[in-house]
Amino acid sequence: MPTLENLPEPPLAACAITAPPRPASLAALFWAISGIALQGFGGVLAVVQRELVEKKQWLTIEEFVEDWAVSQIMPGPNVVNLALIIGDRYFGWRGALAALAGMLAIPLLVVMALTIGLAGIGHLPAVQGALRGMGAVSAGLIAGTGIRLVPALRSNAMGTSACALIAGLAFTAIAFFKVPLAWTLLGIGLPAFFWALHRVRTLPPPAQELV
């Protein structure tokens, strides 16, 4: 299996004319998702964005945000949903199953090995401290990934100031007022939806979607 690092990065201009990159086979999809899942300590999302959008370029940042929105709104583990959607896009239901297996199979073996092997040492102060430090870093990884996705909003048909307002309100509601997700979606997502619907119906579709 070739590692990601030794593949040359295609120049951006080349991507626009040649066919967009995609997984070569079901096995390639399974191993790519397995590799991503195994790098994800305390959350896989940051790694998915790095590997699939920036390195492999299977998704644009806009597609990634759209798929992530669906993964987040539907019940179930977000990154598992995301893998399923991406797998389905490339290889249909077999791709969805391969991506699901990639996300869960090997990490399940690892976590069970840890459960059996580390049963006795979980209470040591050094282990507790390491878990706390890893937790703080993974919190930063999630927040940093969110900030990294902000450029996807530039082409959003709602307009940048509407996007900034919606994002600001949603952040305040969740981080400071601890509003549950369902209420945030109803209170902020629903008005945003109707604003977007109004814009979609009154504005011509953006030129890039016609390509």
């Binding site: 790098q39 994800g40 300590f41 305390g42 959350g43 920036e54 759209e66 929105a69 669906v70 993964s71 539907m74 019940p75 179930g76 583990p77 977000n78 990154v79 598992v80 949903n81 399923l84 389905d88 969805a96 996300m103 869960l104 690892v110 976590v111 459960t115 979980g122 102060p125 401290g129 878990l131 706390r132 430090g133 937790g135 703080a136 870093v137 993974s138 919190a139 930063g140 990884l141 999630i142 927040a143 940093g144 990934t145 969110g146 900030i147 996705l149 902000v150 994002a167 600001g168 949603a170 952040f171 969740i174 997700l181 945030t184 997502g189 977007a196 619907l197 814009r199 979609v200 119906r201």
Partner: protein, 197 residues
Amino acid sequence: MTGFGYSNLLDLLGCFVTLSLLSVGGAITTVPEMHRFLVAQNAWLTDSQFSASIALAQAAPGPNVLFVAVLGWNVGMASGGGPANGPLPWALASAAMAVSMVGIIIPSTTLTFFAARWGQRNRERAEVRAFKLSMAPVVIALLVATGWLLTASHGNPQQAPLLWLLTVASALLVWKTRIHLLWLIGAGALAGALGFV
């Protein structure tokens, strides 16, 4: 210990199937309900076994939902008498683990699969485009807020300044550089193990 046996596998399945369909925002959002069912109602796990199961799965690589596998495993192992009690607890633990994972994964992924396909088929419809456009800023804000809340659960910046510094530094490094994420996680583990944060 208490009486979890093969006859309870269906109860366990029923619990996780229900929670799977309710787990908007991830399986972790249903932890309080799992605690009620496994610890308070049935006493299949103690409080500390429950918390330790979740902490261990969080530290392991992979999706957070794997904590459900650890919970299921420990339910079977505890009721079977522990790992030193011959093959029976291992068999019960494996069965409980498999049932828990199937229960939490299959319903939500099936629903997502068909919903995403519907969305893909109807992606030109104004409602579907508006949904995706309007959700983009919300989910980006949700990510930043999740990072914020995870760190805030350890105390405010005055109480845990170094922990906050670690979070902010890793957020900045992820945002501005292409440093490999495993270096960051390793640095966090080391700082924590040495007692800096």
